[in-house]
């Protein structure tokens, strides 16, 4: 330990940063967690490198600070693929957007649209090479105040919109107001209207409703709707109606009928000239067709595919697999307002009846992590491994809980959308739970119909009988919904489980949970977050408003002739540095 260098680092840091440095110096957190957390707080890499060097840099990690073993990250290193030359074009097969909102950056809801939008529009906070957030986009650095309720983002100089006008903090302020207006899931309750001070065109100063230690994540590409749009943009405007952005690619054409978008290089992009001349994102209505197209090399890259049906690619020697860090999961919710699942014991019984290992093996060939009925991924720095025991299949316990609830058997319909592994997951739940006394009928429908009909119908215009209704008051009694990757669980907890959350299909409401969630959000140090999250893990494990059976690896990739393409587990394929041999 180099105390002199460490003291020097402490002196140059604010109180939040000092807490983090202390935690790392005392080996309370691992190096990669220090880097992750430091990035969120806005510490520069040289500064963090100095702290790591001062602390000896001798913990259990490798030297790069990346999350995944070699060959399994969300990017291919230069020369790691084909070492392509400048120029040319690549075609990426993407999910056909099923949102009826078109290419609307504020209201989009599907991975296909996320990807198209992110080619032209950028975020305040971008993506680092390790798949976590980094100052690689419109903000070149950021920092919180001591309390963590004011965050200042220094904007990158020399950024222009594709029409030639200058990008300023006024654009950031207007974008945030639009997001507040529509109740953006990531920022709802975090900021209010007029929360951004844009008096300095080069700085965007956010004043939050309450302290939030993860705020930069909420204005990053992991809150996909927070793409920065021009100040004079309006809600409902689509990218094809107004091709615009600060990003590397200019939209040339968009075919709505096939959901295919063609882009050309933005010659004035602040990041320099892209190696490729053009790109095409080609929509596929069926993921199996996209896999076939990738196998036959009719496309150069694929946005996402599943283990089931994707075996051909996984065994394809000429295919480079990308697995960016992922907390993507399925939530099997119980609408606890309905009599079937009013009893906590019944919900627990179903949770104990499930064979999660079977799910991971059958559905993902082991490419997934077993869940424990809360949405906290075990690799997060504040995850508490000792909070609760891991649920495994225990039919006797499940039957005992059913008896405790006074229920011999329960007839219920499990509603699902026809998306990737979900219908198969439903079938496994149906079989597993039968032994504990659940007579489950599975009803699978198209994903968009499923969302509208019963995930959170009030979001889609179903009028509520109660003027102060919960946003998902008339959700299905029992259903499975998909959640994409987020680097922190704020959305999983705040939108899906907090009282009145916009995606709370369980209609779960527990004041203790809400209080602990508030504690977590307001904690700006890892120790405080760990304490709050540990309590949250316990509450959710006990109450079981939903079953979280697994977190699965996000699979993406490209032909070996492509290199330097980066993907995220939220559907982005970043092509600004990509080349093709």
């Amino acid at each position: 330990m180099d105390w002199k260098r460490l003291d020097s680092a402490r002196r140059n840091a604010g109180p939040l940063e000092v807490d983090l440095i202390e935690a790392y110096a005392q080996k309370k957190i691992r190096r990669r967690d220090f880097v992750k957390r430091g990035t969120i707080l806005g510490l520069s890499m040289p500064f963090m490198g100095a702290v790591i060097a001062a602390c000896g840099g001798d913990d259990d990690e490798g030297s790069t600070g990346t999350d995944a073993p070699e060959g399994t990250t969300g990017t291919t290193a230069a020369g790691g693929g084909g070492g392509g030359a400048a120029g040319g074009s690549i075609v990426v097969g993407i999910q056909q957007g099923d949102s009826s909102t078109g290419l609307d950056p504020v209201n989009m809801l599907d991975l296909g649209t996320y990807n198209v939008i992110a080619q032209s529009f950028e975020y305040l906070v971008g993506l680092g090479p390790d798949g976590n957030i980094a100052p690689t986009a419109l903000a070149q650095q950021w920092s919180p105040n001591e309390a963590g309720d004011v965050w200042t983002f220094d904007l990158r100089p020399g950024v222009t919109w594709q029409d030639g006008s200058e990008f300023t903090s006024a654009d950031v302020a207007a974008t945030m107001d639009r997001l507040v207006e529509v109740g953006n899931a990531g920022l709802d309750g975090v900021i209010g209207a007029g929360s951004v001070d844009a008096s300095d065109p080069a700085k965007a100063v956010f004043t939050l409703e309450e302290p939030n230690g993860n705020f930069p994540v909420l204005v990053s590409l992991f809150n996909t709707q927070s793409a920065i749009t021009p100040a004079d943009y309006s809600n409902g405007t689509t990218l094809d109606a107004r091709p615009e952005g600060t990003g590397a690619w200019i939209l040339d054409s968009f075919d709505a009928s096939t959901f295919s978008a063609r882009f050309r290089r933005n010659p004035d992009w602040w990041g320099g000239q892209t190696p490729l001349d053009t790109t095409e994102l080609r929509g596929f209505a069926d993921i199996g067709t996209a896999v076939t197209a990738m196998q036959s090399r009719d496309i150069d890259a694929i946005q996402q595919f599943s283990v089931i049906g994707g075996e051909g690619l996984l065994n394809d020697g000429g295919f480079t697999l990308l697995t960016p860090p992922s907390s993507a999961h399925r939530q099997v919710w119980f609408n606890i307002n309905n009599p079937e699942f009013e009893s906590k014991a019944v919900r627990q019984a179903l949770a104990w009846s499930l064979d999660r290992s079977q799910m991971v093996d059958t559905l993902f060939a082991g490419r997934a992590e077993i869940g424990n009925d809360h949405p906290i991924l075990s690799s997060l720095p504040f995850y508490d491994p000792d909070a609760v025991e891991q649920r495994t299949r225990d039919i006797d316990r499940a039957k005992a809980l059913m008896a405790e609830a006074g229920v011999d058997s329960l007839d219920v319909t499990l509603q699902t959308g026809d998306l990737q592994d979900i219908p198969d997951l439903a079938a496994i739940i149906q079989q597993n739970a039968a032994e504990a006394g659940f007579n489950i009928t599975v009803n699978t429908q198209s994903n968009s119909t499923f969302y509208e009909a019963g995930w959170c119908p009030e979001l889609y215009g179903v009028e509520s009988s109660d003027p102060v209704a919960l946003p998902c008051e008339s959700s299905f009694t029992f259903g499975i919904v998909d959640y994409g990757h987020r680097p922190t669980p704020d959305v999983f907890l705040g939108s899906a489980l907090a009282t009145g959350g916009v995606w709370n299909s369980s209609n779960y409401s527990n004041p203790e949970f809400d209080a602990r969630l508030s504690d977590y959000r307001q904690s700006v140090d890892v120790a405080g977050q760990t304490e709050a999250i540990g309590a949250i893990q316990q509450i959710l494990w006990e109450d079981v408003p939903a079953v979280y059976p697994y977190f699965f690896n996000y699979l993406s990739g490209h032909d070996e002739s492509v290199s330097d393409m980066q993907s995220t587990a939220l559907g982005h394929t970043i092509l600004s540095q990509a080349t093709k041999a």
Partner: protein, 319 residues
């Protein structure tokens, strides 16, 4: 013939009117708040209300139906709901053209093969050749086109790499070059329709071969080729023409599965997307387009049959 044609045309127009009403009712009765679904769950209510107003979704029943009739007559269905700023006709037209190319290629491949096979089977009735053609036809016709499409796609497109596995034709490809991309889905259609058309042709040919006029023709000393061409085929192909006419309409709008498997931007996929979005103007335009094609093809088939068979022409004209 003119009277017959006008009569059939009038009947087609009545059918079209009924169909337009049915399509309108389908969209009218669709539950839920369409404007909310289009604006997205996060959109403020003011925007949803404005969208309702803008799209005319609050207009009275008859006003909306009248507007649809005007749209059909003027071929102006306005803007697509799912692609603001894009005219519906600009979405339907390329999809219709794409479907037309696929259907044409499939028919060019299917009809000669099936008719020849049907005639051979009839002439070799109850022989191994006949049984082979009938059995193969039954087997291939019993597999849905999207299933045989997947098999062809995997074997020919992926494993052998002889043809593109998907039918997304790159920009700038010549019309002739497009055949390469359309061949696999066309072959999948051939697999289904070969058995169907060959069996109908076989039955018609057997019936014609057994008829008095064929015997008379032979007794007159005409050659087999001449008998087949002038007497047998002219009569035996009438059911084939009728069936082909009705199937073309289906091929234009009903190949949703096949178009999805090959990622082909045809009319079926467009209608499917419009139905699931929902994009009512696009859905209405797509379904009505298919209906018009269906009616035109049926009418065309009737006219060809009438031309081939003067007795049918006289009967139909005097109805």
């Amino acid at each position: 013939m003119l009277r017959f044609t006008l009569r059939r045309l009038a009947l087609s127009l009545v059918t079209l009117l009924i169909l337009i009403f049915v399509v309108f009712m389908m969209t009218w009765l669709t539950p839920g708040d369409t404007a909310r679904r289009l604006a997205g769950p996060f959109a403020p209510q003011e925007r949803v209300d404005a969208l309702n107003e803008q799209l005319g979704l609050q207009d009275p029943f008859f006003v909306q139906f009248w507007n649809l009739l005007v749209s059909v007559v003027t071929l102006d269905f306005g803007e697509s709901f799912s692609s603001p700023g894009v005219l519906v006709v600009d979405l339907v037209q390329p999809a219709l053209w794409n479907s037309g190319k696929l259907v044409l290629l499939a028919l060019v491949l299917t009809l000669p093969i099936s008719i020849i096979a049907g005639v051979i089977a009839a002439r070799k009735k109850d022989t191994v050749v006949d049984r082979s053609i009938v059995t193969f036809g039954l087997a291939s016709a019993s597999i849905p086109e999207f299933v045989s499409g997947v098999i062809l796609q995997y074997v020919i497109g992926v494993r052998l790499g002889w043809l593109p596995a998907i039918s997304d034709v790159p920009e700038g490809t010549s019309l002739f070059g497009e055949i390469e991309y359309l061949l696999l889905p066309a072959l999948a259609i051939v697999a289904v329709y070969f058995g169907y058309i060959a069996r109908i042709t076989r039955a018609g040919t057997i019936s014609a071969l057994d008829s008095d006029y064929t015997r008379t023709a032979y007794m007159k000393g005409l050659s087999t080729t001449r008998v087949m061409r002038r007497h047998v085929l002219r009569n035996s192909l009438q059911p084939t023409v009728a069936v082909t006419g009705t199937q073309i309409g289906y091929l234009f709008g009903g190949l949703v599965g096949l178009e999805i498997v090959f990622n082909y931007p045809g009319l079926g996929r467009l209608i499917f997307r419009a139905a699931t979005t929902p994009d009512f103007p696009l859905l209405q335009a797509g379904v009505i387009t298919v209906a018009v094609i269906f009616m035109l093809c049926t009418l065309g088939a009737d006219l060809i049959i009438a031309w081939m068979n003067p007795r049918a022409r006289m009967n139909l004209g005097n109805e």
